[in-house]
Symmetry: C2
Subunit: 197 residues, 2 copies
């Protein structure tokens, strides 16, 4: 019904998370209607982001260099690692200004139903870091939902023999919620009130 | 907080209709996480759709040629024009298989609050077509909302002197719907538009 290139665009847009067939159609027509330079700017932004971005080889945050800005910053507290699921969680935590240590991005959480086990997330890399760096505290900041709790529990058990203090971000976050949707104050409080597990 | 290229991607995604800041972030990270070829396919689809698509010079539908497939199809009834707001409306009407005439896409509807007057939509081009082609009937298929009704009213007045039969798509109860759940306006229209059986 549509021309081939328009249908291809609708199909590709429909693969994005949270965009159904009707939204894909709406977005496609929006892209066809706006200025050509505007539309191509999105295409270029996708290409540039993919071409320039890599994972920090230390903490697995998104970075445009081999090591991310946080990892190479000498002012950050080198004795603490905050373990998060996704790079966007780092952004949320940085906004609270309550934390100045390092991070470790798991790039996921344990989810046996979806086939995500410890080997599918960056747990091994965390353990390697802990044996090389002089870390005193690991704060588990995975989401306060089923998968995040399971991941925190798994890591805390894994590290129990290391002598490193392992803490969990405090409640104050609504259980079943998502870290990225928490307001800064709540997230700050939760960090402040962390307790050993 | 994000690298420049990631922030640029989030910004561009956030400009799309129906995509707020959080969704833009989610889509951006999705694009960074999936296979590179998958992500670049979206960028290429946007570029291809923009580069290959143009507006049909007759009906202003989306087309990859100067005249769209419907306009050049000799089997279509050349005496009827169905006036719609957007190209996607053509797709919806074609799916019914109830219409085999021509189309005219206004590329919008009258909306004085947003500064959209008759000069901002393809009304002039419709009038030009009607003076050149031998059209017997114009069916106004703009949306049955405030803007669509105003647009239909405007065009019907504009064409009243031409002698061309101008009709409006029927408003009424949706097929498969329930009388008790219909809003008063729709039910009123359905009664008003009653026809002998």
């Amino acid at each position: 019904m549509y021309t081939q290139s328009v249908q291809a665009l609708i199909d590709e847009l429909g693969k994005l998370p949270g965009i159904g067939p009707k939204s894909a159609q709406r977005v496609a027509f929006h892209l066809l209607k706006i200025d050509q330079t505007e539309a191509l700017r999105l295409a270029e932004a996708i290409t540039a982001a993919r071409m320039n971005s890599t994972w920090c080889r230390t903490c697995f945050n998104i970075s445009d260099t081999e090591s991310c800005e946080i990892c190479i910053d000498p002012k950050r507290d080198q004795s603490m690692i905050c373990v998060v699921e996704e790079p966007k969680d780092i952004v949320a935590i940085e906004k609270t200004r309550e934390y100045d240590g390092l991070y470790h991005v798991l790039q996921g959480s344990l989810n046996p139903i979806d086939g995500v086990g410890p080997d599918q997330i960056r747990v091994k890399e965390l353990v390697t870091r802990l044996s090389n760096e002089s870390i005193k505290e690991v704060i588990l900041c995975t989401n306060p939902n089923l998968e995040g709790e399971a991941t925190a529990m798994y890591i805390s058990r894994l590290l129990s023999a290391t002598g490193i203090s392992v803490t969990r971000i405090a409640s104050g976050l609504p259980v079943g919620g998502d870290l990225e949707y928490a307001d800064e104050l709540t997230l700050g409080r939760a960090l402040e009130g962390r307790r050993p597990i």
